[in-house]
Symmetry: C2
DNA sequence: TAGTGGTCTAGACCACAAG
DNA sequence: TTGTGGTCTAGACCACTAC
């Protein structure tokens, strides 16, 4: 683990230990540098990390303060940061509806940037959050990049397998979101009624080297999912 | 403008001028450093900015590459970065439905962290994107922080006024999103039918010093709004 | 193994906030 | 004015990729 990541983790522990609340002040920079025995740049980087993560905010000329969201029961759709493991406070289960190895469907080729006829794993899962239906997920993995998958893996966390077992480095993703009315087929899976509202998120995942390897479409159950995003900076 | 921001802007211009496409390689780090005459740290910071903004991605041991989303017509709900001015490619108009100075409503006090009885500007607007109804926005500004607003300002960009005229420094925000069925009152304003799907986003905006100054609830027109988010890192 | 991006340091100097 | 966070530099060294 890198020094600045380690430092960030230690600062989080410090906040936890001292039970600091929203708006509470941390020790000043120089103090933190001495306390954690790192250079100013490293400390700055650690703090920047925590700032993006939404853990603190820094005010020049004033100090470093704790930032917290006060609402519970919201899912972090994506943290402004990134590598934060979300949903840890929730119990996530999956039920696999289908699992196949098929030629890449026409309409998905452009999303995955795959060659015509290339094979993909096509997976359909219902995901549960704390016992409730959270979403229907349909995902497609390029076999060129993910050579092997089986039903057992797919019942667990696929991404953990990709990183741990296959050693793939997941880089970045493009997400496209829209709201609409549930089609009949999806409604059945979510145990809702056709025409009910739904948030649909299409995501294209890339490796760190930029190659797309996974395209997924997630349709969320509107009664069992709400999201929080901690943003930094202005965006109109 | 800071040097690393300036550098980032120049690199964007470089990409533009050379008409670089998704996956195209930029000059190597050392070359960029020489070319733009900055230190390695500064260049790294500029590149980090562009990476968070979704303009490039960097691969250790390999190079720096251009990243682009290929879908058009999507609104950037919030960039993973932040200060990127969104919607610039769209024509945004506002119609003010109501504009009042009132005591802070009960249910909003906790969101704004305001004192009981404190006065707030309450504004209701319909916002149009390229001539279509995009959303209904209800927002509340604390008069303690925003001493003056009028109908004319509110018809334009409020945030621009806050930053330019009042010199306020907008820091960070917490957003809460959920999907549901349109209530009758809102449906009318959006020219939709009660029960239609809707994305609702509540946002609490803070100054850089951490004080909340604006609470807003935006309900999006599901047929005229879809969003793109460029994320970095993993998030399940 | 060569090339490329990433981390880390010490220290000078700058910019903003609060009293 | 003082204290505090932010920027910038030069350079050493590390870690990954591709050949």
């Amino acid at each position: 683990m890198l020094k600045y990541q380690q430092t960030a983790t230690e600062i989080e522990a410090y906040i936890e230990q001292h039970a600091l609340q929203q708006g509470d002040k941390l020790p000043v920079l120089d103090q933190l540098i001495r306390q954690f025995a790192v250079s100013k740049t490293t400390m700055t980087k650690a703090l920047e990390l925590l700032e993006r993560k939404g853990t603190i905010f820094q005010v020049r000329g004033s100090g470093i303060f704790v930032r917290k969201t006060n609402r519970k029961g919201y899912i972090e759709l994506f943290s402004t940061q990134g590598f934060k493991q979300n949903l840890v406070e929730h119990d996530i289960q999956s039920k696999v509806l289908s699992f196949e190895l098929i030629p890449c469907p026409e309409e998905i080729i452009e999303n995955l940037g795959s060659a015509p006829g290339e094979m993909v794993y096509a997976i359909k899962r219902i995901r549960y959050i704390d016992g409730n239906i959270m979403c229907l997920e349909e995902s497609y993995y390029r076999q060129t990049i993910v050579p092997y998958l089986n039903r057992e893996i797919v019942e667990q966390s696929i991404f953990e397998y990709l990183e741990m077992a296959l050693g793939l480095n997941i880089g970045f993703s493009d997400m496209y979101m829209h709201v609409g009315k549930l089609p009949d087929a999806v409604a059945t899976h979510l145990e809702l009624t056709a025409g009910d509202p739904a948030l649909t998120v299409e995501t294209i995942f890339h490796l760190t080297n930029g190659r797309p390897f996974d395209y997924s479409v997630i349709t969320y159950h509107y009664e069992h999912s709400q999201f929080v995003v901690q943003a930094n900076g202005l965006y109109l």
